[in-house]
């Protein structure tokens, strides 16, 4: 896989089928439905302690806004990912082009996906920081790889944004 930016587009090329599939899974991975821990992480409380009134108002007025914001980001990403669904006979390497103006949506969707996967799997800090993890041998290993892969993409997008 190669990743670079040219002419206002972030280009991820030479995507093998496995990484392409991980990319396709971003919108679904960002969905916290059915996982209370993930839901709780995406929509965390705005206060600790005795501010129950504030928390209740937050749930009524702010949370729906946040849901819309997160959903818009994942929809943008899903639309970009349509490029990977073309009916090519070959399952060979593909290229994904992300317009720079979608960078924020990608940052958000990647972050949502990472947080949801981490919450669902209850990853510890040491697991998340273990970048020399052994090869994928279980569903949990795959999820950890997914979190790290999405993190790598986030880092790249961020670096491109800093350089502007």
């Amino acid at each position: 896989m190669e990743i670079c930016r040219r002419k206002g587009v972030i280009e991820i090329s030479e995507l093998d089928p496995f990484l392409a599939e991980l990319l396709r899974q971003i919108p679904a991975s960002a969905n916290p439905d059915g996982a209370p821990a993930a839901e709780q992480r995406l929509f965390s409380t705005p206060a600790t302690g005795k501010e129950s009134e504030l928390c209740a108002e937050w749930k009524t007025y702010v949370e729906p806004e946040l849901r819309r914001l997160f959903q818009t980001a994942t929809q943008t990403v899903a639309a970009d990912l349509e490029q990977l669904n073309c009916n090519e006979k070959s399952l060979g390497n593909r290229t994904l082009r992300i317009p720079s103006k979608h960078a924020d949506a990608w940052l958000s969707a990647l972050n949502q996906a990472r947080l949801v996967i981490a919450a669902k799997n209850n990853f510890t800090e040491s697991e998340l920081n273990d970048h020399c993890h052994s090869p994928i041998g279980s569903r949990r290993d795959l999820s950890l790889f997914q979190v790290n892969f999405y993190g790598f993409l986030q880092e790249f997008v961020l670096r491109e944004m800093w350089s502007d």
Partner: protein, 141 residues
């Protein structure tokens, strides 16, 4: 570092009460106004003095309302570079300051990013949640 933050917090509270003035100007002006009221009363020969000035009452009300802190908590998933970027965007902090707060979150588990009026603090927390950071609103002290 913590002392600096508290001081910065009070500075921002003061700024919000006074509007865009130079440091100390507002406080000085407030004293001057009280003095002026007293002199005028004496010149008029009246016995009744101007009871607590409106300016003074407003200040004390604001003082009661003001101290809310925007606190960001550590989260092992969010990337450090991402967190620093968010601080720059939301608070308009320069990169060095954003990174200092990010490191404080990372090492100490939390950092006070801003202090001031509740409404604005709520807005900041909402923005931070929009970026998926763990942020809370707390009463200072």
């Amino acid at each position: 570092m913590r002392r600096f933050e508290l001081r910065a917090a009070y500075d921002s509270i003061f700024d919000m009460s006074c509007g865009p003035r130079q440091d100390g100007e507002c406080r000085a002006q407030s004293k001057e106004m009280e003095g002026t009221t007293r002199v005028l009363s004496e010149n008029a020969g009246t016995i009744t003095t101007a009871e607590p000035t409106i300016e003074k009452e407003t200040r004390s009300e604001e003082d009661l309302d003001v101290p809310w802190q925007v606190v960001v908590h550590n989260d092992p998933v969010n990337l450090m570079s991402y967190v620093a970027m968010v601080f720059q965007r939301v608070f308009g902090y320069p990169r060095e300051k954003a990174e200092r707060h990010m490191l404080e979150v990372h090492h100490k588990g939390r950092s006070i990013l801003w202090s001031g009026m509740r409404e604005r603090a709520e807005l900041y927390v909402q923005q931070l949640h929009g970026y998926l950071l763990l942020a809370t609103l707390e009463k200072a002290g």
